[in-house]
């Protein structure tokens, strides 16, 4: 399916809300950077990050900031 269709229809699976995404973003990022499965830590987060550009931007920014600290 094209990128445009993904953008229109969003993720297929269950996803967390924007509020829950923000609530648990730190936990998700630390799990990711520790080499754990972040989706196990926060089920439905990956789907939400696919479907919500604003939350996705904030996830990428936080991950890069923390990763840069080593």
């Amino acid at each position: 399916m094209s990128r445009e269709l993904d953008r229109l229809l969003g993720p297929e699976g269950p996803e967390v809300s924007c509020e829950e995404c923000f609530e648990r973003l730190d936990e998700y990022v630390d799990a990711e950077l520790a080499g754990h499965d972040p989706e196990q830590a926060v089920p439905g987060m990956a789907a939400h990050l696919d479907g919500c550009p604003a939350c996705r931007e904030e996830h990428e920014s936080l991950r890069d900031l923390v990763a840069g600290e080593g």
């Binding site: 094209s2 953008r7 996803e15 924007c18 730190d26 990022v29 604003a54 920014s61 923390v66 080593g70």
Partner: protein
């Protein structure tokens, strides 16, 4: 908030220089270069809840970390000019500091304290940058965005299939969505208006708008599934 004054050049000549951690500003600068380690979360909480002097120093260090996070977020955005960056970063760090201190009791220790605190600065900076970029721009719900979008050009079976799906989605947007769902869907998914900008203009929240978008997408998926067009509700 006062971070303490810089010493004048040469003011320590012939005198013993005070230890670096005597000045809150020096401690704040030190925090730039020394990220917190996992075991430091408890120390942050203890200091932020401690006696006034200890708390003030911890708040100054926290502010420096939040400012650094806000600058990091704003530097990622081409729409933010170098002239705007510092002002926006300071506003974001100040708002994030208020939020972090207000929510201190909700920190569960599921992440490092610094990761938890950074997310407030990144949120504040991101929201301010998106709103600044759309300042003075009107949001017009323009369904004419569809034709160019739904015309993949000549071609392959894949593009024809995509084109058929896009036409079906367009029809379902007209027939299946409520007026409110249609407006939110067109603005967010089709015109890519930032969700924080739309939330501000509509006097609502990011979460409420995303819920509407989510419900609209489910209806569209269901409509496509009814037509056996390959999307699942």
């Amino acid at each position: 908030m006062s971070l303490g004054a810089w010493p004048r050049p040469g003011s320590y000549r012939g005198k013993k220089r005070p230890p670096a951690d005597a000045n809150p500003l020096m401690r704040a600068l030190e925090a730039y270069a020394r990220p917190a380690m996992p075991g430091e979360s408890d120390t942050w909480l203890r200091r932020l809840r401690g006696p006034a002097a200890e708390r003030d120093a911890a708040v100054a260090e926290l502010h420096a970390l939040l400012l650094r996070a806000a600058r990091h977020e704003l530097r990622r955005r081409p729409s933010v000019t170098v002239f705007e960056l510092d002002d926006l970063a300071h506003q974001a760090a100040a708002d994030a500091l208020v939020a972090v201190l207000a929510k201190l009791d909700t920190f569960r220790g599921a992440s490092r304290f610094t990761t938890w605190a950074y997310k407030f600065a990144i949120l504040e900076a991101g929201v301010k940058a998106r709103r600044r970029a759309w300042q003075g721009r009107e949001i017009t719900i323009d369904e004419d965005t569809w034709p160019a979008f739904a015309d993949p050009g000549p071609g392959t079976p894949e593009t024809l299939e995509t084109s058929e799906l896009l036409r079906a989605i367009r029809d379902a947007v007209e027939s299946e969505l409520t007026d409110h769902q249609r407006e939110v869907f067109v603005a967010l998914a089709l015109q890519e208006v930032p969700i924080d900008v739309l939330a501000e203009r509509r006097g609502t929240t990011r979460g409420a708008l995303y819920k509407t978008l989510h419900d609209a997408r489910r209806r569209l998926r269901a409509a496509l599934a009814d037509q056996e067009l390959g999307a699942t509700p």
